[in-house]
Symmetry: C2
Subunit: 319 residues, 2 copies
């Protein structure tokens, strides 16, 4: 009986997480908030069996991490939660401590978005066009905040094949009254020279660089060549240690998303995420300020050392 109940609980957790797994349009901060909603839902419907709650949280945590292997925030939040409750034996304490962790991260994500927006407005050359790639709720909130502060600007956004999350970005900005110029991805080179700055989000950050949606490296190469400043906007929950960093490489998608009926000799590459070395970005805008390559290298080296000395698989990333 216990095992049937167990498998039913697992099934219902799987159902909660399935939409997150299939979400190709949301940025990493949005995915993190959706993941927290899953944990909250498990906690609110939990009974008073401490082991059962722990098992459910651990199962959900594992599933969430696997569902979005490139997303550092979801990994950091999940592992932080599992670690917090690991030594607790009372169901009530597990619930209250879990909610504290979730509330902490929720507040952090929201506060960070506001702080990042304050830094980002100073990076927008007045009156110039802004290039925005893929979909990042952090980039959206920074642009909306600048608009609310009375800044006038237009945003160029490409469609972001194959998931087309550029349409989500264009729609969100247009509905806030921001003028949007929309084009196909390879027209980036045509429109970038008219832009004063380029913004993108970021899914994870480690010693080798940033990870973001495919196309970000191409944008970074073009910006570097054209001397257009490129900033990645993200909160510090995106920092991840070395062990975990290359998980994004596992995020292959079906070739048929790109071409339904290719000749059999054609190999299709459909990788969702790619690496952008720090050399190719002007700075990383976090709630703690704008980090240059030198700042980032120091910060990450310190983070990895702390991780090694503590012999932890996760890392405390907040100063």
């Amino acid at each position: 009986m216990a095992s049937t109940a167990n498998s039913e609980r697992k099934k219902s957790i799987e159902q909660l997480i399935a939409p997150i797994s299939n979400d190709l349009l949301s940025g990493s901060a949005e995915i993190a908030l959706q993941g927290m909603t899953v944990f909250k839902s498990i906690l609110s419907s939990a009974n008073s069996d401490a082991d059962e709650i722990k098992a459910d949280i651990e199962f959900a945590s594992q599933l969430l991490i696997e569902s979005q292997p490139a997303m550092a925030s979801i990994f950091n939040i999940s592992t932080s939660l599992v670690k917090t409750i690991s030594g607790i034996s009372s169901a009530e304490t597990i619930k209250s401590e879990s909610n504290k962790v979730l509330d902490h991260f929720e507040k952090l994500l929201c506060d960070s978005a506001a702080s990042i927006a304050d830094f980002a407005i100073n990076l927008m050359p007045p009156g110039e066009m802004i290039f925005a790639y893929s979909f990042s709720s952090t980039v959206v909130s920074s642009l909306l905040s600048a608009k609310a502060k009375g800044r006038y600007f237009r945003v160029v956004c490409p469609e972001s094949r194959p998931s087309m999350e550029g349409r989500k970005l264009a729609t969100r900005l247009a509905s806030a009254g921001i003028e949007v110029i929309y084009t196909f991805d390879s027209a980036m080179g045509m429109l970038l020279p008219s832009c004063g700055v380029a913004f993108m989000g970021c899914d994870s950050i480690g010693a080798p660089g940033l990870v973001n949606k495919t196309g970000s490296f191409l944008l970074a190469l073009a910006c570097h060549e054209l001397k257009i400043p490129l900033y990645a906007l993200c909160d510090t929950t995106k920092f991840i240690n070395e062990e975990r960093f290359f998980e994004f490489e596992n995020h292959h998608r079906l070739g048929s998303e790109i071409w339904a009926d290719p000749p059999p000799e054609v190999l299709i590459v459909n990788k969702q995420f790619e690496l952008i070395p720090f050399d190719y970005i002007t700075g990383l805008v976090t709630e703690d300020g704008v980090f240059t390559k030198t700042d980032l290298t120091k910060y990450i080296s310190k983070m990895n050392n702390e991780s090694a000395s503590a012999n932890l698989s996760t890392v405390k990333i907040h100063k």
Copy 2:
């Protein structure tokens, strides 16, 4: 009666040219051959009225040029033909002289493709992957020729939104037994570092640079930044004088090809062609050899001077 016959002839010429106008998948050399087929068809069905033949050739010429404003070859062939027959009053002589012009260009295009292939094979680093962008019959014939000579290589080709002529390229190469790696356009940055050389076609060449399908400038920026040699492959019928050069700017397409139902505030940019300054290419491979930026600048300056002194709207471009 004469005017009805005239309008009927015009209608049938329009019908011959309509498929060329709507052809977004063919490269410039292919379009040129299709244009020549239109002229040949007019000549073979012509009666013995010299003025009528001239009017038809002029009408077709104008329509062909308008149908593909970025394509230099079609402009050069058409204007050369119109100029050749302008002073002739015998229908038979018009037909024979026209066929001479068309045969000359047909032979030139075919011979050039073979010569370009001979130069191109020396630019392919043995065993390395080759990047090929958009669709160019000149690039295809060079790759097929190298394959026929026993070279082993793989070709990376992106899809080329919105017309997807990358699929035509991939299919053509795969059917010749060449291994193809196919991906979406913004994944260029991910795959380019694994390539030893990049090839593209070219629609026209003038003092400001090359004109080719949108995405070529982005490719050129990325190649320049990654220090990957980039060659444009095309015959010398693509050289065009200053007056005509910026016609490619008129080649706007419908926004709905990119996004069928955007919010009304979103402006869609769908331009098919763009400029690539010579600084961003390693060389131009023609039937006369591989031209560097310095060679090109000299060649074009000489061409424009000859044009100005002769007070011609077109230019003799063949040495």
